[in-house]
């Protein structure tokens, strides 16, 4: 039976999961530099050991109300198609294995979120894990619209 390893994190009252192979590292939130004229869900850029990487504010991306930055807040640095970016999360909860059979397609009315970003929903006992479709987070609607 196929299993997938996931990094899970919380955002508001929801719990999310991303494929561990896409996670480069998890860091505390360093000073973030705002980037004017960038899309609203771009929190800014940070210095990751000499590289400048963009940070996505997931709350704003998913249309959630803004939250407070706490001691538990983290940036999950993702690497997708050789491009690196970070997502801001309220806290990282755990690393777990998930049976592929426990993954169900996204419900039609996807928890109030755009289902474009959701790969499916994982069930672990009573817990519901929203599995993110990572390539849609940064791409999807192209950055170029804004430039023109």
């Amino acid at each position: 039976m196929a299993e997938e390893q996931m990094v899970t994190f919380s955002l508001g009252s929801e719990e999310f999961g991303v494929d561990i192979m896409k996670v480069q590292e998890i860091i505390r939130i360093p000073p973030v530099t705002r980037v004017p004229k960038a899309r609203s869900y771009i929190e800014g850029v940070i210095n990751l050991r000499g590289n400048v990487i963009p940070i996505v504010n997931l709350r704003s991306r998913f249309g959630m109300p803004p939250g407070e930055e706490t001691d538990l807040s983290r940036i999950v640095v993702l690497q997708i198609d050789n491009r690196v970016f970070g997502i801001m999360v309220d806290s990282v909860t755990e690393v777990l294995w998930l049976d592929s059979e426990a993954i169900e397609p996204p419900p039609p009315i996807a928890l109030g979120m755009d289902s474009n970003y959701i790969r499916g929903v994982g069930k672990i006992g009573e817990r519901l894990l929203i599995l993110l479709k990572l390539d849609q987070l940064m791409g999807g609607d192209s950055m170029n619209e804004q430039i023109a």
Binding site: P31, T33, R34, P36, V45, N47, G50, V52, P54, F85
Partner: protein, 713 residues
Amino acid sequence: MSQGEKSMGIDLDDFLDFYLLDSQEQVEKLGSGLLQLERDGENISLVNDLFRSAHSLKGASGTMGFTPIVKLTHAAEDLLDKLRQGKMLVTNEIIDVLLAVTDKVKMMLAQVERRLDISVDYGDLTSQMKTITETGALVQKSKPFAEKNQMEEQEEKPGINFALSPEETETVSEAAFVSKSVYWLNVVLEPNTMMKAVRAVMVIQRLELLGNVVKIIPSIDELEVCEALEFNILFVTNELQKDIRADILEVSEIYDALVTNYTLPESDAPEIGLTVQSEEENPVSTEKSIEESVQISRSKQANQPVQQNTNEQPRKDVNQVHTIRVDTARMDNLINLVGEMVITRTRLVKIGQDLQTENQTDPLVVSLNEANVYLGRLMNDLQESVMKLRMVPIGTVFSRYPRLVRDLCRKTGKRIELVIHGEETELDKTVIEMIGDPLTHIIRNSVDHGIEAPEERLAVGKPEVGTITLDAYHEGNHIAIIVSDDGSGLNIEKIYKKASEKGLVSGREGLSESDIANLIFQPGFSTADQVTDISGRGVGMDVVKKAITNLGGIIDIKTSKGVGTSMIIRLPLTLAIIQALLVEVGKETYAVPLSSVVETLLVNKPDIKTVGSLPMVQLRGNTLPLISLKQKFDLPESETINEEVYVVVVGLGEKTVGIIVDELQGQQEVVIKSLGDYLNGLPGIAGATILGDGKVTLILDIGSLLQDILIKR
């Protein structure tokens, strides 16, 4: 033999990069040579060069198994061979076909480079060439291939010593008992052969079928790294001398092969080896008798110490290498590391300064600061040297335009001379790579819209042949590239009319001619009445402008009706490390490239007047348009109202604009980092840098800020 077996394991894929580099070079050579040939059709040595290029292209492609390239170049080679033998005269038709071949091969190589199968269709070209070749053949029958070798005949062949091990000596002496012949083979490769080891392996593979290879000097491995164009083989066989030679010559890129009898030295000194032939002696060609060459070898052996000579040939050649090819990724890594060091140094300097304010007298602090100053100087030198590694002469880009202009001329029936100056001007490799396409576009435009048809030119009293000049030179921290033509100039009225039709401008007043000319950089603008094959599809100068702005540059037009048009492009010299002025706006810090800073001013608020929607200030009798960074970057206006504001005057070329900021923080060296694919191309931002405290700071894109203002006006 062991050599042969080991080397046969060489994976051709390892040589693909070599092959591509070499082939692309040969194609370039062919291209420029053909253009030269068009003007100088009688030049036989030129034809010979071209033939050789085509031949080695064919050979290399054959080894790598790229059949389409082989077929195409083979046909071209045949055609060139005809020209070379004087059986045909150079015509425009032939040049056209051959140029088309170079284009096709380029496309094929591009596919090879991307590891794709070659899918470029080339059938019509080969048949076209065949027709030309055969029509020529009606006059006189073509000569057999063998003649070629005679034309390129003899050069001096230096001698070689085989330092044989006892086992190898035994193999050779055993051969004599079973009445096999022992030969010394001297194989000479064609100049510029890239994959020498592959050639050697191919030769050895053939020989293995005929007999027994005892030893190769230099070894296959050495051959790949040294510059020697020849290698020597000790070979035991039953075959005849001339058969062996013929067989070797079938391998492509083999210039010549000498096959000479080889005799072991007298039994007392087997490990010393034998001088077969020395440099002082006349070369031994196949025509000379075997007897003779054996005699020479004996006489020499008597008085020449052998060991000393053995390795001299390769070593001497290695010393002649003045340049090395380095993978750009390695170089970029080096530059990144230097960049990191620059950042770390700024941190050190900051720590030193902080310590000094705290404790002015501590001798340790004083010496730390001294060391910092020294480190700073070293870093500057290091940085400069590293940056020079990336500098490439712009001639590498310019060289493609003679061909372009020629082709366009043939299509349009115009007569144009392309004059190129300043090819040696160097600029950053990245810039070089990116500037080619915009320049192509501008030159196309000059040919299509700029230069008039010959009759038209004669009618207005201009010389029939138009001139397009391509010029490049340094201008402070920038490089200027100028494309000018002596054509009809831009039609200002037509541009204005078009622009107002498209709603790009509202009123004529306040617009200078050059302002109107600059409207052609607006998206979707094209004034050509007819859509031609060359330009005028409406995707035009705005793309050019965008490309140049992306490089941190600016483009400007000067045009004069009936006299001509000049496009002036100004680009930064390098894209990696720059001096920057740090400015504070609200709580944010931005870096302004110092190369575009003209001056900084302290301006009284009441002196700022608003004209139209733009704030302006009078500066020494000129109006200077202002940009408020706060507004531009959506920052809240500060609550405390200062009487005075700082204005950083920035400019490129003749255009200047003032940027309103809150504070000036001083100047610093910064390493430009890209914002990555996700955030590329944001208006007003050229990139990012990391300051001494580790925070990311954005770098302003002066080019785009300037263009912004110009458009608004």
